[in-house]
Amino acid sequence: MKIDPVWVVQPRADRRAFLLAGGAFVLGGFGGYGLRVLHEPGAAAPPKNEKTGDPELDELRRLAVEAPIEELSAQWSSFVTLRDRKYQQDGVLVEGLRRLVNQCVVSTSTADRRLRAKMLARSVRLGAAMRDGNLAARLPQLEEIAR
């Protein structure tokens, strides 16, 4: 009895078809990822740090988006207090809040970590930060640390 090979795809045309299909898959993957990133809440680029004419707000904005995390972290209590009291709706300051939240969640050696988590959890519920889906998603972790 003779057994003939069965080709799922024809050998020659198949190479091109395979490459085309593979290329389309890769492009589709990147395209889909790009669209997801663009539409993910809070994943957009941080707002531009433009001068406001309010020296206090300008300095807080600098800390939020330009200063190294060490500098922002060293002034976290002033930053969060002033943001909560006066600048809750400022979108640039939300970026600083996000950096502080990330540091608090990721770094177990953060100074005053429990108190920070407690204060940050309250600040995240306030003003423009509430509209940031990524920050809201961090709340359970902050509350766990704050216990």
Binding site: E56, S77, T81, L82, D84, S123, R125, L126
Partner: protein, 87 residues
Amino acid sequence: MTQDPKGGLRGPTVVPEGGVVVIEVMNGATSVEVSQAGDSKTTSYPVGPDGRARVPVIWSGGTVLCISTGQWPNFRVMLVEVIATIR
């Protein structure tokens, strides 16, 4: 006791609800502003001739109080946690 690293305010880090926070003000400010974390409302308390501000703790346990003096860049803040008392 805790001290603001840059100097300015000194006081306890925790206080029982219903108590009084005594803050030593060392930067010449005549009043302190008090708010609770996550709230924009502030209340002002005068600094007495002894250089201390007395803040009655009307907030419930779990609240974090932000007690501050001055404006940026001379803004100073210290945080005090209110703890619940067993009744």
